[in-house]
Each structure stands twice: as C-alpha cells, then as structure tokens.
C-alpha cells in the first residue's frame, strides 16, 4: 500500500501553523518511526492522516484515494490507531475495549465473528488471560497491549501509533517495538510509530522521519537520518553516533546550551 501526503499544512490559529510543507510518500509494508522533539507536531501529523484532525491545507492519499473524500468509518477499516494513553471515564472490560476496534465493520449479527478476531489478536499479543478484566485494573504495559489489540482488530493496512512505548519500562519498550516490526512483516501492514527513544527506533525501524519546526527535516533509513549533525539541529544535543551491527547507535554527550527564552519557545 501507499501513503502519500502532499503539501500538508495544519494550524489551530491562522498565524502559526503547527505543520507546514509536509510532503511524504511511504510504501509499505514496513515499520516507520517518526522522531522529533516535544511540540514539533508528530501527533498532529498522524491525526491528520486518520482524520482526527482536518488539515488546513494539502491532501492525504491512501493507495491513490484522497482520504477527505471517504467517511471516517470507511477510513477506520484502512487505518488503525493506537493512542499514547487511554482515558476512558467509564472503563470497559478488555474484550469490550478491543471489540470497539471492530466498530467500522459492525452489524448486529457479526458479534461471534468479531469476538473470534478479538480472541486471535489477544492470543497473538499473549493477553487472553486479561480478557474479562476491567481495563482500568491493568498495568501500563498491559494497557498498551490492549490498545494495540484494538488498533489491530480494525484489520488496517496502515497502523498509526502515538508513542506506544511512552509509559513502558525498557523491557516492554523493546518488546512492543519488536512486536510492531514483526507485525509489519507478518501482517503486511505499514506501521507508523511516533517514538521518543532514538536508539530503539534506530534498532528496529525500516525508515525514519525526523520532524523539526513543523516540517520534515530528514527522511530515510536510520543510518541516513540519525547523524550527529541532524541530532544537533533537531534535538539540540551533542551526540556521537556509532555503528551497532549496521544500525546507528546514539551516545549522548551534552545538551546544546539553551537560555530560558529559547526553552519556553519549545
């Protein structure tokens, strides 16, 4: 499948666009990581892809189809979404939470089939034992898996993840990222994940998109994108990049000095 973004711009207020001049073409299946500092518009970008936000300018095409011309229900069958945290006021059971991902396909009669898909997905993620538990009683890592399951039962061609590893300890960060890489290969999905950990992204991603100042600063393989020069501009850190089995590995030295004003502009 192909995801194409043309001249995308998004702004909440007219003066300062959050995103501008975004041009991007991804052909899957592959595992793509979006990197960039806080407030650079990473979440906004993926929200523009699945119509959670309406772009101010520009178009998003999936396999040549302009997403603004299809309903969000149709889009939900193509694009799955996993948020960085859940904030259900009234939590459902794990099964019911995951079952929500079947909504775009739902009809009154399909419950048994939907349940079977939910079961297979839970088994794949190794969490069938949590099925009947209330969602709010789970640990952060289990939350992530449940939300991932909900995104997967949408049976998407593209899976968007907004910092799925942000609440996890290192072991779970690696496990989830590795699983996403595997999913992209086995289920033939274009997985696009926002990531904060550069090294984990570098280790598993097929392609990296680096955002800076609301635009794409660099895109390509981890080795092409993760360089000391790019890190200095985008993250404002002094770093060395070493080779680790053909993948770049970042060693952080220092933050580029910042005065307060600059900090708050971020």
């Amino acid at each position: 499948m192909e995801l194409k973004i043309e001249d995308l711009e998004f702004s909440y207020t007219a003066e300062t666009p959050v995103l501008k001049d975004i041009n991007l073409c991804l052909t899957g299946p592959k595992f793509v990581s979006i990197l960039g500092p806080n407030g650079v518009g990473k979440s906004t970008l993926i929200h523009c892809i699945n119509k959670i936000l309406e772009p101010t300018k520009g178009k998003v095409y999936i396999d040549g189809v302009d997403v603004s011309t299809i309903t969000i229900k149709e889009l939900a069958k193509i694009v799955g979404y996993v948020p960085y945290s859940a904030n259900d006021t009234f939590p459902l059971s794990v099964v019911d939470t995951v079952l929500m991902g079947r909504h775009p396909y739902s009809s009154w009669k399909s419950l048994d089939d939907d349940l079977k898909i939910v079961y297979r997905t839970l088994r794949m993620l190794g969490i069938t034992h949590l099925a009947m538990r209330p969602f709010n009683e789970l640990s952060a890592g289990q939350h992530q898996k449940v939300m991932l399951a909900r995104g997967l039962v949408q049976e998407p061609k593209i899976l968007l993840l907004d910092e799925p590893t942000s609440n996890l300890d290192i072991r779970h960060q690696i496990a989830v990222t590795k699983m996403l890489k595997k999913l992209s290969e086995e289920q033939e999905i274009l997985v696009i994940m926002i990531s904060h950990d550069i090294n984990i992204a570098a280790k598993y991603a097929d392609e990296i998109i680096m955002l800076y100042g609301g635009s794409i600063y660099a895109t390509g393989t981890p080795s092409e994108v993760i360089t000391p020069e790019n890190l200095q501009v985008v993250y404002e850190v002094e770093a060395r990049v070493e080779d680790d089995h053909g993948r770049p590995h970042v060693l952080l030295d220092d933050a580029v000095s910042m005065d307060e004003e600059e900090y708050f502009e971020d």
Partner: protein, 354 residues
Amino acid sequence: MRGLSENEFVTDYRRGNHKKLLFVFVCSVIAVITFFVSLFFGPSEITAQQCIDALMNHYGTITDPLADMVVWDIRIPEACMALITGVALAAGGAVMQTTLRNPLADPYIMGVSSGAYLGVAVFMAFGICIIPGLTQSYSIVINAFVVSLVPMTVILIASSKGKISSGKLILIGIAVMYVFSATTALIKVLADEETLAEIYQWGVGSLSGQEWDEIGIALVVTIIGTFFLALQARNLDAVNGGPNIAKAVGVNVKFVTLYSMTMVSLVTAGVVAFTGTIGFVGLVAPNIARMFVGNKMKYLIPASAAFGAMFLIIADTIAKVVTPTGIPCGVIASVVGGPIFVMIIIRQRKKALL
C-alpha cells in the same frame, strides 16, 4: 482463563453478558411486584379487599365506584408515572454521563430538568406554547422539550470548548440549573395566586395527580426516546473512549453527541412536564447500575432504566406507606437512596459486581 479455545472464549463472554441481563430482569420483576403493592396504599381510605375487587371488576360490572375511581384514576396512574419517570430519567442520566464522560452528569444537576420545567411554567402562567393550538398536555410537553434544549446547548458548547475539566462542566451545569430555577421562581412571583398554586402543584416533583392522557404522552415519549438512545449504544461506547478513539474507529462524535443529548432532552421533558423536577434518580440509578453491569451501554441503558423504575416505584410506595397524605416521592427517594448510594460508593471495589 489461560488456554481457552476460541469457542470457549466466545461462550465465556456471552455468559458474562447473560448475568448482566439477569440484573435487568430482577429489577424489572421487583418493579412490577412493587407496582401492584403500591396500589394498596394511598391517601384514600379503602380496604385491601376493595382494592382487589376494584382491580378485578374494572372491565366487568363496577360494584364500588369510589374504590374503582381511587384505584384506576389515582393509584394506577401514579404508579405508572413512577415507572415511566424512573426509566426516562435513569436512561437519560446514563447516556448523559457517558456522552459528557462524567459520572456526575444527570438531567437534574445539569439544568435540563429545570429548563424543561421553565417551559411548563411559561405555559401555565402565560398560556404561551411554541406551537400554538394544541391541547394543554401536548403544549406543556412541547414547551418543556424546547426550553430544555437551551441548557443542553449551553452544556454542549461548554464541553466542546477545548479541554474543560469534569468539575468545571458540573459547575456550569449547576449554574445553568440555578438560572432556570430562578427564572421559574420569577414567573411564580409575577403570576396571580391561582396560577401560582397550579404551577407549584405541577412542579414539586410529585407523581400524583396524573391524567391518563398525560401518562400516554409520557409513556410514548419515553419509549421512543429510550429506544433511539439504545440504538446509539455502540457509538456511545466509542465516545466514552474519548473523541480521538471514537473518530479512529469510525464514529462521528459530533453527530452522536448532538443526537443523544437531544434524545435525553426529549425523555426528560416527557416526564418533567408532568411531574416537575425530580432529582437523584438520574444520577444514582445509572451509577448503581454501572456497579452491577459495568459500563457497556448495550447493558447499561436497560439496566439503568430498570433500576430507575424500580427505585422510584419503591420510593413512591414507601412515601405512601409512611405518610398517607403523600410526601413527594422525590423526598423519599433522596432520604432513602442517598445513604445507600454513599454506602455503595464507599464499599465498592473497582470491579463491576457482575
């Protein structure tokens, strides 16, 4: 749970849901039993035997016109209204809580009921109806519905303005409630004595003094409204997950919110028009139902409705047993229900009971 096969998993899930339906069934049965018990109590002095005879003979030869009148024109309508009101306010409360994602939301606290009641007062005092030329019962309901949309609109606008905390939303609701209650009070001050008495009698949250045609209107409005709310059950589950999740699974959040809130206004107006504002049941019934059946709307809406009906008919019966002169059942509902509610919240574990 580990090692379940696919089919066992499906059966297991379904078995869990059967338990939830059992809750609905038990509440409904208790409500119906209490309905009949309530017919034996009331301000008029007639014996139990007279009651039974009146019930039996109504469609045959009426031997005791007084008892027949008491049972069929006073007690049965009142009991019917208790059930209908319980269903309407509890289902409305459940949907309002989920849509606004706030366990404190209910038609009373958020000012929807007082908006509806203002519509009633406007008709009573000035004879003004939005759609002229209808009979009194219809005019009152239409007025109640239209005016109740005003507080609902305020709440929807407030809740759509970025990230408003749930506490603030409730404060806004309470402020709206006061504005509408005060406006009603103002109309009462301006009204002449006779009208005042009428408005007051209409609006103390009393289930008594219902006419059959009013019951009919309230019943139809409640059935239609609750049915249309139930149709949104799956969409409401998604809305409960937050706007981003809802959109990501293909739910039109704006439409679902507007549709549900309009229906909540409708069912609220349908009963408030004839009973006046009754608090508590819209807040308590859904929250207690949540503890038993969980938060999935497919089960929560019927469970809240059944529990609400049971709750109000029991409160009304107690009211009549304790004081034959008839305390408004809203008072008993709060006096009895309040402490029980607090107790349940304190003792409740995180998990749903069923």
